[in-house]
């Protein structure tokens, strides 16, 4: 397997950094990430981590250029960011010759937030429109909320990253700076620089520009919680949709566990392509659905397995549920062949290589593995974790977690 080469260093203030050189194109990705996501927010301030991410783009100006992005684009660069349940990441893409300028700008913005009320109010409006666009104004938009409040009830993973409209409105400047002060520090952060770089020079730039990030210990905001605490059962939700859908979800262990990788195999068995068990039966043999897919989500402290089935006109939810249940029971009993496992491993191998082709993907992976696992080097052997899964691991994971007795079923039905 091809390896990604990298060098891990520690800056003078203790901040971790990972450098990876790749001269494929004359371009570099700088990514700054903090172990601070929506699960680290106070219970009544949901949406805070993500609102802070929005505010990180408006604190700097240069002559007539009024925002981070405008200055960056003068350098030929572009930026983006995301907030997840567990982390927040800021990316810059820049031509190699502009690396120093971009780092200089980036370091200023990390310390120069515009927490003025006017700015916060505008970004709150923007975030609420983001929520409208992605959740409230689209078919099945409430799904993540409906799953979260049952499957992750009373845990920090209960509410999706975006937060609730009311709680977003209630966030104050103090809340934001409190969160920033607590988590945006050396113990919680990592910088990855990937692409067409000179290693020595980049190391110098990193020390020169990022050494004033506040030195502090890592913050652990939540403890572990038990996997049993969730409501299973069946619920009906009315939505502005034309055709019904069935969503079945399970709690599984967190990212990196054997069960997590086994769940990826199970997803492949169930819905990985036209020849998979559920696609074959639901879509092609019985014409009940036009689409079926399953997904595995691994957070730092919990995980989730989901099966989504979108029904054809006239098809019945309970029939679809029954077929899914029968097939889950079949896998629980070990009703699949060695060939099925080989097939999934081939698929995992292909997607592994496909996923690491850009500097952006490499930097994101290096950052994630630095923050949440033993080493950034995991980028090179993460695939082994998936490939060593055995038939027994699959059956054990099914019996323990992805078992029809532990299902949360949501039926979405058309409201009109």
């Amino acid at each position: 397997m091809p390896k990604i080469s990298y060098k891990q260093i520690e800056l003078e203030n203790g901040l971790k950094a990972v450098l990876s050189r790749n001269e494929n194109i004359p371009s570099v990705i700088i990514s700054v990430s903090f172990k601070a996501g929506s699960k680290d927010e106070p219970r009544d301030k949901k949406g805070l981590a993500h609102l802070l991410e929005h505010l990180m783009f408006s604190g700097v100006c240069r002559d007539n250029l009024k925002s981070f992005d405008e200055i960056l684009s003068l350098m030929g660069g572009e930026s983006n960011a995301y907030t997840s349940q567990d982390m927040t990441s800021y990316f810059i893409s820049i031509p190699s010759g502009m690396l120093e300028c971009a780092m200089q700008l980036d370091s200023v913005r990390l310390n120069a937030l515009d927490f003025s009320d006017g700015n916060i109010e505008i970004q709150k409006k923007v975030v609420i429109e983001e929520k409208n666009q992605i959740y409230d104004n689209v078919p099945f938009g409430s799904l993540e909320f409906e799953i979260g409040r049952r499957l992750f009830k009373n845990t920090p993973y209960e509410i999706p990253v975006i937060g609730k409209t009311e709680s977003i409105k209630g966030i104050t400047a103090e809340d934001i700076s409190g969160f920033y002060e607590k988590f945006y520090n050396t113990g919680n952060g990592v910088i990855a620089v990937c692409g067409d770089i000179d290693m020595v020079e980049t190391e110098n730039f990193l020390n020169k520009y990022y050494s004033d990030i506040k030195k502090d210990k890592p913050k652990n905001s939540i403890g572990n919680f038990k996997i049993e605490d969730f409501s299973c059962g069946k619920y009906v939700i009315k939505d502005k949709i034309n055709l019904p859908a069935v969503f079945i979800n399970f709690r599984i262990p967190e990212f990196g566990t054997v069960n997590y990788y086994a769940a990826k195999h199970i997803a492949g068995l169930l819905t990985g392509g036209d020849s998979s068990i559920l696609n074959r039966e639901l879509i092609y043999d019985k014409n009940l659905c036009f689409e079926a897919e399953s997904s595995v989500t691994g957070f730092e402290k919990a995980g989730m397995f989901g099966i989504d089935a979108y029904l054809n006109h006239g098809a019945d939810c309970s029939e679809v549920e029954q077929i899914i249940t029968e097939n889950l029971n079949l896998i629980c009993r070990g009703g699949f062949g060695e060939r099925d496992i080989e097939k999934i491993k081939n698929k995992i191998e292909l997607s592994y290589h496909t996923a690491l082709q850009t500097n952006l993907a490499v930097s994101d992976n290096l950052s994630y593995f630095t923050l949440f696992t033993e080493s950034p080097g995991r980028i090179n052997y993460e695939i082994e974790n998936a490939l060593k899964i055995t038939r027994d691991d699959i059956v054990e994971t099914m019996r323990e977690y992805i078992n029809p007795e532990k299902m949360l079923i949501l039926n979405y039905l058309p409201s009109t």
Binding site: M1, I25, P26, S27, S58, V60, C61, R62, N64, L65, D69, I71, S73, L74, M75, G76, G77, E78, S93, I94, G97, M98, Q104, L105, N111, I122, Q123, K125, V126, V127, E129, N132, Q133, I134, D136, P139, I241, N242, L243, G272, G273, D274, S275, S276, R280, N287, F290, Y310, N312, H313, K343, N346, K347, E349, L350, H353, T354, L356, Q357, N359
Partner: protein
């Protein structure tokens, strides 16, 4: 906080040579391209036919979707294999397979591990040359497609774009989306699919692009063995299809009850991809709405907070193109947002952009240009587009120098030509009960209730 950073002047950018690749034309006119990338043990094969949904209605009207059905059916059965066998054969090796149509091309693509590539390539030959298009599989595929479209008809973004496309495209081949619509799909017969296949899925109309861990010699040998005996057949040129602006602005309102946002699609006829104006258009669009810091996003998002984002595009197709602005705004700002967008279009025509704004846009385009060649598949897309849209071979070799030469006068001229603010198509999916009355007297408003009526 004010930053004092010395940003080095970029000056005239160095041109970037188009990445190396291998090219060969077979006796039967199949063109082969190979882009070798040894860094990853994977290979992508892209089989492309230079006709897409713009050709759907050439033989008879009301056949929206026939090209994409034909392309998708390629992996639904041959004389020797049924659709289940085919899926099982590809998927066992982990191979990812997709086929379908775009406006100007139909494609059959697979991504495979290098170690299984030979087998996958052989299987593809069988599918492309020996598909049976059985009645059962046609029925199955139509049912999936019709249900999936029916579900999509509740998405405001989908509906707004469908209406926009349809009204600007008028009677041209670009007036419908490649997936077709429910009533046209129902009417398509097996004979029409077979006809489409024999008209357009021909060697003279075919490009094969192999990307990844493969040497040109191996590619040449494989394609030669599998496809060079395919009987030579001519290229099928289709009638030119043009978008056309209306005489005066038309606003279409697609009703979505209790919608909290309005999905807006607004614009004019644009340019074809090989138009000589492509370069100034790229600059115009970058300044106006092409990225995060461009004018309409700054206005609607950063200053007013009406939306999560607003962007504009020149969507350039082979014979014509559309210029459109897409945004999703809070319902109470629907009229205000439309007014602001039109105001920004007017400003582009009225005032010259400052040298600073122009330099900023040029630097942005130049700096981000290499990312368009980061993966071998991205290079393949560029190569394919050059073939599909008749772009001159050395286009990208001179692209940055041309970008650098564009002046603020050219930006104004281009805006004057393509920002026809009196002749817009505006499509809005939202709560018509609440928004339509605001537009009355300002635009001619037509209400659409059923998604299938947009045709």
């Amino acid at each position: 906080m004010k930053v004092n950073i010395d940003i080095p002047k970029r000056g005239k950018p160095r041109n970037i040579k188009f990445p190396e690749h291998f090219e060969y034309e077979f006796e039967n006119r199949i063109k082969l391209f190979v882009i070798e990338d040894k860094r990853f043990p994977i290979i992508t094969a892209r089989f492309v036919f230079k006709s897409g949904s713009a050709a759907d209605n050439i033989r008879s009207q009301g056949k929206d979707g026939v090209s994409s059905l034909t392309a998708e059916l390629l992996h639904k059965g041959t004389h020797g294999l049924n659709s289940n066998d085919i899926a099982e054969r590809f998927e066992y090796y982990g191979t990812m397979l997709v086929s379908g149509s775009d406006y100007d091309a139909s494609y059959f693509t697979f991504h495979s591990l290098e170690k299984y590539f030979g087998e996958m390539f052989g299987l593809s030959e069988e599918l492309i040359l020996d598909s049976v298009f059985s009645e059962d599989e046609i029925r199955n595929l139509k049912e999936i497609r019709i249900n999936s479209l029916y579900a999509q008809y509740r998405s405001g973004e989908y509906l707004a774009h469908k209406a926009f496309n349809n009204k600007l495209g008028r009677e041209s081949g670009y007036s419908h989306k490649p997936e077709g619509c429910i009533c046209t799909l129902k009417s398509i017969t097996r004979d029409e699919i077979l006809k489409f296949y024999s008209d357009y899925f021909t060697p003279g109309n075919m490009l094969i692009v192999l990307v990844g861990d493969i040497k040109p010699e191996r590619a040449l040998k494989l394609v030669g063995e599998k496809f060079s005996k395919w009987q030579k057949k001519g290229i099928n040129n289709i009638e030119t299809s043009k978008y056309r602006n209306p005489e005066r602005t038309e606003l279409y309102s697609i009703h979505r009850e209790q919608s909290v946002q309005s999905d807006i699609c607004l614009g004019n006829a644009g340019i074809s991809r090989n138009s000589p104006e492509f370069v100034p258009v790229v600059l115009l669009n970058t300044i106006f709405g092409g990225n995060f810091s461009s004018r309409i996003n700054k206005n609607l998002r950063e200053i007013n907070g009406y939306t999560y984002g607003a962007r504009s595009y020149f969507d350039c197709k082979k014979y014509s193109g559309e210029f459109l602005i897409e945004t999703n705004v809070n319902i109470q700002y629907t009229l205000l947002s439309v007014n602001e967008i039109i105001k920004e279009m007017e400003l582009m025509k009225k005032n010259r952009v400052t040298e600073e704004e122009l330099e900023n846009a040029k630097n942005y385009i130049t700096g981000n240009f290499p990312l368009q060649f980061e993966t071998a598949n991205a290079v393949a897309t560029k190569l394919l587009n050059m073939e599909l849209y008749d772009i001159e071979k050395d286009f990208y070799d001179h692209y940055l120098a041309r970008i650098y030469e564009v002046t603020s006068e050219e930006i104004i001229e281009t805006a004057e030509k393509y920002f026809q603010t009196e002749k817009l198509i505006i499509a809005i999916a939202g709560d018509s009960e609440k928004i339509n009355r605001n537009f009355e007297g300002k635009f001619s408003v037509q209400k659409i209730n059923d998604a299938d009526l947009i045709k």
